[in-house]
């Protein structure tokens, strides 16, 4: 993706790391990765063809069969489902002549379902040729397809989504959306020196905003302590958690502050190369980011001797993901950047010691980098005036679902759920999924809990990674859980047994719930199997995949006891006789 000018700068990259970019080129050109392309790439990289095919088949934006001149990806996240996914799918199928999962006979349109594309505030939404189309309805779909048939390109007619920044702290207390001048934070580096930067971050208690909340200064300090070079700074812009779109808004509204945060990191740990791993769903943001990188170059804020600091050489390039939720896991992301399948590594080393190409690497989330540059710009003292003691600062939250004003809310830590619901106009909220499907479901009974980082055992506070999905009392919990389970079933990398098989098994169990065959014993098993996956899975995906199921069973007791019979001790089990013989009945003469 990077332009030719900077290609030379990245002298360390082995050829294999270019594999994903090469595959993207083929995908965009031929609308699939052909056998011949695989053969050529295998020869080029001295690999067997199956190894290339393994990479291709891992990412859902790479197709082995032609995916249509126009490739349409319909978002199938839970918010999209509740806002009319089915009707939109029908319309697309009718208008294009393609069935979901296939192309139409002429190969003009390919129609596919995909998990959350980061547009939860504009559902139903779709990507066509990787350009966003939002707030779809039947008429709009008809119009879009007609225009495409007339020869318009998706780029010309797409909707660049509104940023929907609905709330920032009053009295100019915003952190992320304060006025921004390029280079302001970088200008502080020379005086602060490395120790000063770490000190600022330590005092402001900044921690990883991807959801793990690891202290940022500690990560940087550890990476700094390794003498191996070169070192890498990676911005994790693979925002895959359904219901999250804060990084999208940051990258589109404040790309400079993100890049500046990366530069600060490079300065502190002594890194020479930076990469932004942008999820494939945000391909439409790539141009904007590259322009921003260009602007930094033009001002001497990237490249050799940045901001006049002797010996501080650093450059940033963009790397595109190709559709895989698990690549948000930092070691899977590293594998993906190396041109491999995005399978999380076994945790022998942390990336700060052995990361990209087994070299010291800092991987941080988009929001973390943005916060860093703001902390440097404002100073830790000013930053500490926001939030609550022990959890200072602000947090970006993406709100979607059943509320009047879905969008981005920059809240000061310490706000309660009730206050947030008030701000966004939550409509009859009943089930709130915090931090996405891998996070925690919250009942409205818990609305007085604060959102903060003080969520240690005796505290009742709740952390939020960024996603906040509201469901009203008419939504069916089992339906929500089925959507999550389907998501994890597809997005598991498939390496370890409990996650690969477990998510599939859990889904079968939920089907039983949906078909009304379950009793209390099934619920008990569901919980116990969920815990098994939690304890034995290899990475965070499997460990958190059943969180929402386990916690729903605990928190929504009234829902479950009302719907499912007590443990069935009768000697004859419930059985759907009609369904079991339905296939055979078709042969009745």
């Amino acid at each position: 993706m990077s332009t030719d000018v900077h290609q030379n700068f990245f002298v360390v990259d082995p050829e294999r790391s270019q594999l994903l970019s090469a595959l993207w080129q083929h995908q965009l050109q031929d609308r699939h990765i052909s056998r011949e392309a695989i053969k050529r790439l295998a020869e080029k990289y001295q690999l067997s063809e199956i190894e290339i095919e393994g990479v291709v088949s891992f990412y859902h934006f790479f197709h082995l069969k032609p995916a249509g001149k126009h490739t349409i990806y319909l978002n199938k996240s839970i918010t999209a489902e509740l806002k009319g996914f089915e009707r939109i799918r029908e319309t697309f199928e009718r208008e294009t002549g393609a069935r979901l999962g296939f192309t139409d006979p002429s190969g003009t349109f390919g129609l596919f379902a995909t998990p959350c594309i980061g547009l939860s505030d504009h559902e139903p939404a779709a990507l066509i040729d990787f350009y966003p189309f939002t707030n779809l309805n039947a008429l709009k779909v008809k119009d879009i397809i007609n225009k495409l048939k007339e020869g318009n390109s998706a780029a010309e007619i797409c909707d660049i989504p509104q940023e929907n920044i609905r709330y920032t702290p009053a009295n100019n207390r915003t952190i992320f959306f304060a006025p921004y001048t390029r280079g302001e934070a970088i200008a502080k580096l020379a005086t602060l020196k490395q120790d000063g930067v770490l000190e600022q971050l330590k005092r402001s208690e900044l921690s990883g905003r991807g959801g793990a909340f690891f202290p940022t200064w500690k990560k940087w300090d550890t990476c700094r302590s390794y003498a191996t070079s070169p070192k890498f700074i990676i911005c994790n812009a693979d925002e895959g958690e359904p219901g999250t779109f804060k990084d999208r808004v940051l990258l589109s509204n404040q790309p400079g502050s993100v890049i500046e945060g990366m530069i600060a990191a490079a300065y502190t740990v002594g890194a020479s190369y930076g990469m932004i791993y942008l999820r494939g769903e945000y391909r439409w943001l790539a141009k904007k980011l590259e322009e921003e990188i260009e602007a930094f170059h033009a001002q001497g804020l990237l490249g050799k001797s940045i901001a006049g600091i002797e010996g501080f050489d650093f450059d940033i390039r963009l790397e595109l993901g190709a559709g895989a939720y698990v690549c948000g896991e930092e070691t899977a992301l590293l594998e993906s950047m190396e041109g491999k399948r995005g399978e999380p590594r076994t945790k022998w080393f942390y990336p700060v010691e052995k990361g990209y190409l087994q070299l010291p690497t800092v991987v941080n989330n988009v929001e973390t980098f943005a916060a860093v540059s703001r902390i440097l710009q404002l100073g830790a003292d000013e930053y500490l005036k926001r939030g609550i003691p022990g959890s200072p600062g602000t947090k970006l939250i993406s709100i979607s679902g059943d509320c009047e004003r879905p969008g981005i809310y920059e809240i000061e830590w310490g706000l309660t759920i009730a206050e947030l619901l008030e701000l966004c106009g939550g409509k009859d909220p009943y089930f709130i999924q915090v931090s996405g499907p891998s996070g925690e479901p919250i009942s409205i009974k818990e609305k007085f809990r604060r959102i903060s980082m003080l969520d240690l055992k005796d505290q009742k506070d709740i952390r939020c990674g960024g996603s906040f999905m509201i469901f009203n009392s008419e939504r069916d919990i089992v339906h929500i859980l089925m959507n999550f389970s389907e998501f994890f079933k597809h997005e598991s990398c498939g390496v370890c047994t409990p996650c690969r098989a477990g998510n599939f098994i859990i889904q079968r169990k939920l089907e039983r719930l949906q078909n009304g065959l379950a009793d209390m014993n099934d619920l008990k098993e569901l919980k116990s199997w969920g815990n098994l996956m939690k304890t034995t899975s290899r990475c965070g995906l499997g460990k958190t995949a059943t969180n929402s199921i386990i916690q729903s069973l605990e928190k929504f007791d009234d829902y479950f006891t009302g719907r499912f019979a007590k443990t069935d001790n009768s000697i004859i089990r419930k059985f759907n006789h009609q369904l079991a013989v339905a296939d055979y009945e078709r042969y009745k003469p």
Partner: protein, 422 residues
């Protein structure tokens, strides 16, 4: 290298620093089940998770841990034992493992682990996902139904110029191990056989080589890795005053093999005939129940509505219901059709079959005929089953030990050779 002390379940052991925990435990006589772990692959794969233990207070696989001074490991707590068992059960329900029809039976690590952990039935529903059997490679057959995606072959089988032959394809529940036909053809015979041998299941089969060792003489046929199965034989039970009991038996969607096996008890059958009387059973040819029975023994699962009716009748008429054999426990061989829609099976058998006569090609359907179910159901999915005897077939001694225990409360212990069947 220095020798270190480490603790397993509170007991102190010694091993060289840096030894893999699984190996160190084994050297010290502690059995930690494992499937993907293979001494030669470094770093270990950590894919199957069967060796999950509590290591320094955290649940982690033993294969990715190394001995250092003071290492604290919990292996045999009830929760951990159950957790590991569940993981192996998960593999059985994920794939389609029909051991009696498998070339690898007896040499299969997965099957062996099933015995070692005493698995009689999986707690999970069988997924019955249709998998490919790939006959295209020059020398190999890839049986994807049996693959547990351990990745041993990916890391270990390389051509002489270091190119991979195997690689994971797809993602999530669609993950499978693909084979590169071109590279496979370039393997030496020796390398190909090695690929088959390191596969912990029968997923990689080399044509003409898979039966090199006859059944009965294979690696896991008679030997357990654990002590408890080698000893612990209870003395012959005393023959006291036994009250005479009534038994009913039936074969549903099975092959009658379990009934045949039951008769394999030879002359002891004379003793048993004194102790029990048979009511409804193919052995007596009594068609309908004439009285309530103490014990019902069912062979086979349910493939049609008649099976379901019979099974329900058994449940109603018997105090204790025991099912015997793989078919009754989870579907067994008839469940091979569970991965294929019923319509396809029927059409293949009756409509598109080469031997069907012109004009005679109809799928049998009559109100007097039982209706065929969409898939094979295990007995436990239809009625509550009290006990299950796995095996294909279970040995006679096993069946009768269970019967005696249930009817007269007699203690019994099973030998490894008695529950190792298929």
């Amino acid at each position: 290298m220095a020798t270190c002390s480490f603790w397993i379940d509170g007991k102190k052991y010694e091993a060289e620093e840096g030894t893999n925990l699984i190996d160190a435990a084994k050297e010290n006589g502690v059995f930690i089940p494992s499937l993907c772990y293979f001494r030669h692959i470094d770093p270990p794969l950590g894919t199957c998770r069967t060796c999950t233990c509590k290591i320094n207070g955290r649940n982690d696989p033993a294969c990715t841990a190394y001995i250092h001074e003071g290492l604290q490991v919990e292996v045999n707590t009830p929760e951990l034992v159950d957790m590991r068992k569940a993981l192996v059960e998960m593999m059985f329900s994920e794939g389609n493992h029909f051991c009696p029809a498998c070339e690898k039976s007896g040499n299969c690590n997965l099957q062996h682990m099933g015995y070692e952990l005493g698995i009689s039935v999986t707690r999970f529903p069988h997924l019955f996902k249709d998998h490919l059997i790939d006959y295209q490679p020059k020398r190999m057959i890839m049986e994807h139904n049996r693959c547990i995606k351990c990745k041993r072959c990916i890391e270990e089988v390389l051509t002489t110029d270091e190119k991979r032959v195997f690689m994971s394809l797809n993602r999530g529940n669609e993950t499978m191990i693909g084979i590169d036909y071109e590279q496979e053809a370039r393997l030496t015979d020796e390398q190909a056989v090695n690929a088959m041998n390191i596969c912990p299941t029968g997923a990689i089969i080399v044509r003409g080589k898979s039966m090199a060792k006859p059944f009965g003489e294979r690696a896991f046929d008679m030997v357990s890795a654990q002590k408890q199965f080698k000893h612990n034989i209870l003395e012959k039970p005393n023959k006291g005053n036994f009250e005479k009991k009534t038994i009913a038996t039936v074969s549903l969607a099975g092959c009658f093999g379990c009934h045949m096996s039951m008769l394999d008890i030879d002359e002891e059958i004379m003793d048993i005939a004194e102790l029990v009387s048979f009511n409804k059973s193919p052995l007596t040819d009594i068609k309908n129940f004439t009285q309530r029975c103490h014990l019902g023994i069912v062979e086979g699962g349910c493939c049609n509505t008649e099976n379901i009716e019979t099974l329900k009748k058994f449940r109603e008429m018997c105090d204790i219901l025991v099912v015997m054999g793989e078919c009754a426990v989870w579907g067994g061989l008839p469940a091979m059709r569970n991965t294929i829609p019923l319509g396809e099976c029927l059409e293949e058998a009756y409509l598109n079959c080469v031997t069907s006569e012109q004009g005679e090609n109809t799928v049998p359907y009559h109100e007097d005929l039982p209706k065929i179910l969409d898939r094979i159901y295990s007995c436990n999915e239809i009625v509550k089953v009290d006990y299950m005897i796995p095996g294909c077939p279970p040995t006679a001694t096993h069946i009768w030990k269970v019967v005696k225990s249930l009817l007269w409360g007699e203690d019994y212990s099973l030998l490894y050779s008695e529950f190792k069947y298929d």
